[in-house]
């Protein structure tokens, strides 16, 4: 578990960077703060700034009179949304799917007009508050007592579907190439993908899992490419990229949960013996068994946090650097910002691969620990 410790320390470092950044930004906000910090709906300025923040129209800033709030812009980008901002005032409305106690509700998010209007559905009236769908009671106020489960196709879900589509197209076409050119040297896209697949097999699966690796290859490969493609698409500032998919805790939670399930259903008797009857004096069992049981959870938990923190931190840093232009309200800072953003983007390209690699590597390591035979 040496490497795991290294990664954990890396996460700690990133967390520190992240915290420092937030602190830096809050100081800046204090400096520029307005008297009122009331809830501002998604208005044109913020949309404009968010737009600018994604690196397209840096020069257009400053025509709005409202004060620029970098934390809000950044958090808006990091978080999920019910519409997909394209450019200027144009957004792509996404379907809202709600599971209410009365029944299922499906309607377009365009009905909210960027949160400015309520929508009267079949069962309730809904309002978009900070990009969350809330039920509005008869008195015109948000009614928190009615619980609705939001299964909407949000920006992250849509971006993930795009990534899945890309993955399917790429790999099914590559598989087709293998069927067409049996026994021949790889060509084109095939020769780009093959070394990566062989890398996952020979450098991730085989050394960590051993001779039983073949059974886990589909899961490892899918995890690797799913995370990698989503990371890369997240770095593209324009539609259909730019969503913070792998930097969302829900997605990393699902991935880590999948790893936990795979590891535990494949755990052999040695794995379970190690947890319930560890090789320690019996009087240490009250300590050891809870620790080992926590270990079952903490390993995938670390996976979840690691991916989430790394990708989110990357997005936040890039957006913060862009925000500098609007914080200082001068174009003079732009070259510096752009240079730093360029550097960060290149670094993020590396991180995109690295995080996919680490997630897959640790998954393989955990599987290997669970299926290892002791003689």
């Amino acid at each position: 578990m040496d490497c795991n410790r290294v990664f954990v320390s890396k996460v700690k470092r990133l967390t520190i960077v992240f915290t420092l950044l937030i602190a830096f930004l809050s100081i800046k906000i204090d400096t520029f703060a307005q008297v009122d910090s009331a809830v501002v709906p998604v208005d044109s300025t913020v949309a404009e700034s968010a737009h600018a923040a994604s690196g397209e129209h840096g020069a257009e800033a400053g025509h709005g009179k409202e004060k620029f709030e970098p934390t809000k812009v950044i958090m808006e980008h990091i978080a999920d949304s019910h519409m997909w901002h394209l450019w200027g005032h144009t957004s792509l409305p996404l379907p809202v799917i709600l599971y209410t106690p009365a029944g299922l509700e499906v309607f377009s998010s365009a009905h909210f007009y960027h949160g400015e209007e309520d929508y009267k559905g079949t069962y309730n009236t809904y309002r978009l508050v900070e990009d969350h769908v809330k039920v509005v009671g008869t008195n015109g106020q948000v009614d928190e007592t009615v619980s609705v489960l939001d299964f909407s196709i949000t920006k992250n879900v849509a971006a993930m579907f795009v990534a899945i589509l890309v993955i399917l197209i790429v790999f099914i076409s590559v598989a087709g190439a293998y069927k067409k050119r049996v026994g021949k040297a790889p060509k084109g896209l095939q020769s780009l993908i093959e070394p990566i697949i062989v890398f996952v097999r020979d450098d991730i699966a085989k050394p960590n899992i051993g001779h039983k690796y073949a059974k886990f290859m589909p899961y490892l490969l899918t995890v690797f490419f799913f995370i990698w493609f989503n990371n890369l698409l997240g770095l593209v500032p324009i539609f259909p990229g730019g969503a913070n998919v792998t930097g969302n805790i829900a997605l990393t939670f699902v991935m880590a949960f999948g790893t936990m399930i795979i590891v535990n259903i494949n755990g052999n008797k040695y794995y379970w013996k190690h947890i319930f009857r560890p090789d320690v004096p019996w009087w240490l069992y009250p300590i050891m068994i809870p620790v080992e049981l926590i270990g079952i959870i903490s390993k995938p938990f670390a996976l979840m946090i690691r991916l989430f923190a790394n990708i989110t931190a990357g997005h936040i840093i890039v957006l913060s650097l862009i925000s500098l232009i609007f914080i200082f309200e001068t174009l003079a800072i732009a070259p510096v910002s752009v240079a730093f953003v360029l550097f960060m983007d290149v670094l993020e390209l590396l991180v995109a691969f690295l995080q996919a690699f680490i997630f897959t590597l640790l998954t393989a390591l955990f599987i290997g620990m669970a299926v290892e035979e002791h003689h």
């Binding site: 879900v157 579907f161 790999f171 293998y178």
Partner: protein
């Protein structure tokens, strides 16, 4: 804290999409790709092994060829030597035989000559005796023309007999 709270919708869609992706890729991508890579690796391994074997076989054949060549050369030398000795022996034999044959012929010729000489001599003796008888006859005829001479001769002859 919203940032670290997983939303149920995204969890649901991610799980669904990821499971679908896993199933689809497993069936349509990973199986054929990994299978093809494995197969190709095996065929490459096989080809390399075969090449190694062929190389060894080649080396073996080359050394064998060399051996054969050397053997053949030695054999040739042997044969040549044998042929030479054979030739020499044949030549000697022939020479000896020729000598013997020659000697025989000479011997034969000598005998023949001797025989011929003897025959010739016998003939000559014959003719000489005939001639002598004829001559003696003639001489006697001329000498014994008269009676006295005949009587003298007989007397002479009788005298000789008496002497004996």
């Amino acid at each position: 804290m919203e940032l670290v709270t997983p939303s149920i919708g995204l969890v649901f869609w991610t799980a669904l999409a990821f499971i679908c992706l896993l199933i689809l890729l497993r069936k349509f991508a990973w199986k054929p790709i990994l299978g093809a890579i494995h197969e190709r690796e095996q065929s490459i391994d096989e080809a390399l092994n075969k090449a190694e074997l062929a190389k060894q076989e080649m080396a073996r054949l080359t050394s064998q060829n060399q051996d054969l060549m050397q053997q053949a050369r030695a054999e040739r030398d042997e044969i040549l030597k044998e042929a030479k000795t054979l030739k020499d022996s044949i030549l000697n034999e022939a020479k000896k035989q020729a000598q013997v044959e020659g000697a025989k012929l000479i011997e034969k010729a000598k005998i023949e000559i001797e025989n011929q000489k003897k025959a010739a001599l016998a003939e000559v003796k014959d003719q000489v005796s005939t001639l002598s008888l004829e001559i003696a006859e003639r001489v006697l005829r001329t000498q014994l023309d008269d009676k006295t001479k005949q009587e003298a001769l007989v007397a002479n002859l009788l005298k000789d007999v008496e002497l004996n």
